[in-house]
């Protein structure tokens, strides 16, 4: 068996999944181009204030991964860079990378890992919730910034006294074209509501839910602790309307456990918006001959979980909503596929 360390891999997206794939391929001794359109690595994980189910600081994880990448000579990080085009040449790809200054660099790659992540659905399509109309109606990523702000010292005068969290905004909604469950909102909403009670102990936190889906190690315990020890109030029902009233917001819903209409006055509404693929993912997938599903998430080839085309693999939320640990695991798994491809030996009959 011969190992050809001349092989090169291209990883698109330097979020948690892409970083992990680059690390593992680089550690195996292959050259990696790690392309990121933003000016820093870390993706969405790097924007988060805290993580579930252990209330860890995701920044520590991201910084550790960046440090690891910086120690691996074989990884070339290209930030503020996007993939302009790609064409297949034999088994490999020739890829044009566009840099911030407009310059185009051409690289050759024998394997590609797509890790373009996700974005939140534009929930202004829900006129009844008033996102984009009322400044205090925010989506869940914007709320992570609020948590960071409240954790810093400063005036407490303008902080909300009551916050409502809406789950399934855009998820499990056929009328908006998303019948699927976005998988992680139950957990991060519990996290955000729990942190609200930690940072603003006087504030009330209401979580409107149809059910909570906590399938994972320590997940159920995490949600229960938010209810039972942090005293976040879970109200079963999907809110129907947000109305302005005396400078505050009134949420109207049904308490479906009692079958009665209810209202609650709050100062802020946090919408757990559906996880959707990034706008450019479908186009990018097309360049590499990768498969996508009806929503634009990347789809795997039969029987191969991380492969989406010939020499093309994927990891993280570009495939579907995934929690940080899952994104990291998928990154490592995609790297294993790439390394296996680079080391493929002819298989005879046993």
């Amino acid at each position: 068996m011969t190992t050809n360390l001349d092989k090169k891999a291209l990883v698109v997206g330097a979020g948690l999944a892409g970083m992990e794939a680059a690390i593992k391929i680089g550690q195996a001794g292959y050259e990696v181009y790690l392309v990121e359109k933003e000016n820093t690595m870390g993706g969405v994980t790097g924007q988060l204030f805290s993580s579930f189910p252990r209330w860890e600081n995701p920044r520590e994880l991201v910084d550790n991964r960046i440090q690891t990448i910086n120690q691996i000579e074989k990884i070339r990080v290209l930030t503020t860079t996007t993939v302009q085009s790609a064409r297949r040449e034999g088994e490999a790809f020739v890829v044009d990378l566009q840099k911030a200054d407009g310059q185009v660099e051409q690289v050759a790659a024998d394997a590609v890992v797509l890790a373009t992540g996700f974005e939140l659905m534009d929930v202004s399509v829900y006129g009844e919730y008033g996102y984009g109309i009322y400044p205090n109606v925010v989506n869940s990523l914007e709320f992570e910034d609020k948590l960071r702000e409240w954790s810093a010292a400063g005036s407490k005068a303008d902080r909300p006294k009551s916050i409502a969290f809406f789950k399934c905004v855009g998820s499990r909604d056929r009328s908006k074209g998303n019948p699927y469950c976005s998988k992680i909102c139950c957990m991060y909403t519990a996290k955000q509501a729990g942190l609200t009670k930690d940072l603003l102990p006087e504030a009330k936190a209401y979580v409107f839910y149809m059910d909570y889906r906590a399938a994972g190690k320590e997940y159920e315990e995490f949600v229960r602790s938010v209810i039972e020890t942090k005293h976040v109030r879970y109200v079963r029902g999907r809110p129907s309307k947000v109305l302005p009233e005396n400078g505050r917001l009134v949420v109207r819903a049904e308490d479906t456990l009692m079958g009665v209409p209810i209202e609650v006055e709050v100062d802020m509404v946090v919408l757990a918006s559906a996880i959707v693929p990034r706008e450019g993912t479908r186009v990018l997938a097309g360049m590499f001959g990768a498969l996508t599903d009806q929503y634009g998430f990347i789809e795997n080839v039969p029987f191969e979980l991380r492969q989406t085309g010939n020499g093309v693999f994927f990891a993280g939320a570009c495939g579907f909503a995934v929690e940080t640990a899952g994104a990291q695991a998928q990154g490592a798994a995609a790297a294993a596929d790439v390394v296996a491809l680079f080391n493929r030996v002819p298989q005879g009959v046993k």
């Binding site: 009551s162 009330k204 209401y206 209810i227 039972e228 005293h231 109030r233 109200v235 079963r236 109207r252 308490d255 456990l257 009692m258 009665v260 209409p261 209810i262 209202e263 609650v264 006055e265 709050v266």
Partner: protein, 192 residues
């Protein structure tokens, strides 16, 4: 205690959560542990005749709706059989909540909505006070007389009697005085 306004949708921020805390403090029952699964109601021996089922009773404690809890029919038709708490995955002691709310109803002089229920409880306690036990046949007969439903359950009672399941007499326990002393210690001395 902020009163619930029944002419408007319930405003969660206006309800007084003190009932939930009061029940946690005095009864040691934490309704926040409720998983809302309904196993209590599914197992309840009387849920089919309750106006509010056990799960809803726990929910009303959370909503702080003391008025409905004190006026509900279930308060007096619950027989404290303990099936709900026995089967509850969070071991929420609903019969303890019922006892507490019944005591509270008596203290606040909130009567049962149906007179026949009041009469039943009165007659039953009367029987216990006098004999130390509940004599089913005389209790049923007296209840029928007082509520003017003379032939209610007569057919069933007859069959039970001929099978030896009903004792028409009211046998006393050995030491009725001890029972009377117990009654003397209760909050509601006269009626028990």
């Amino acid at each position: 205690m902020a009163m619930v306004d029944y002419y408007r949708p319930l405003r969660l921020n206006q309800i007084d959560s003190s009932l939930q805390e009061e029940i946690k403090r005095t009864c040691g029952v934490d309704v926040e542990l409720c998983l809302e699964c309904g196993k209590c109601t599914g197992g309840c021996s009387n849920a089919h005749i309750f106006d509010l089922t056990p799960r809803k009773i726990v929910q009303l404690v959370k909503l702080g709706d003391e008025k409905r809890l004190l006026n509900m029919d279930s308060l007096w038709t619950c027989v404290s059989c303990q099936l709900c708490v026995d089967r509850c995955p969070s071991h929420i002691d609903i019969p303890r909540i019922m006892d507490y709310m019944r005591e509270k109803a008596r203290k606040k002089n909130v009567r049962a909505q149906r007179e026949s229920i009041e009469i039943f409880h009165e007659l039953m306690l009367d029987s216990i006070r006098k004999t130390g036990r509940v004599a089913e046949a005389p209790l049923a007969l007296k209840h029928n007389l007082r509520t003017r439903q003379y032939f209610k359950d007569a057919e069933l009672g007859g069959r039970m009697f001929f099978k030896g399941k009903l004792n028409p007499l009211s046998p006393k326990v050995k030491n009725v005085k001890q029972v009377k002393d117990l009654f003397a210690q209760t909050i509601d001395k006269k009626e028990g």
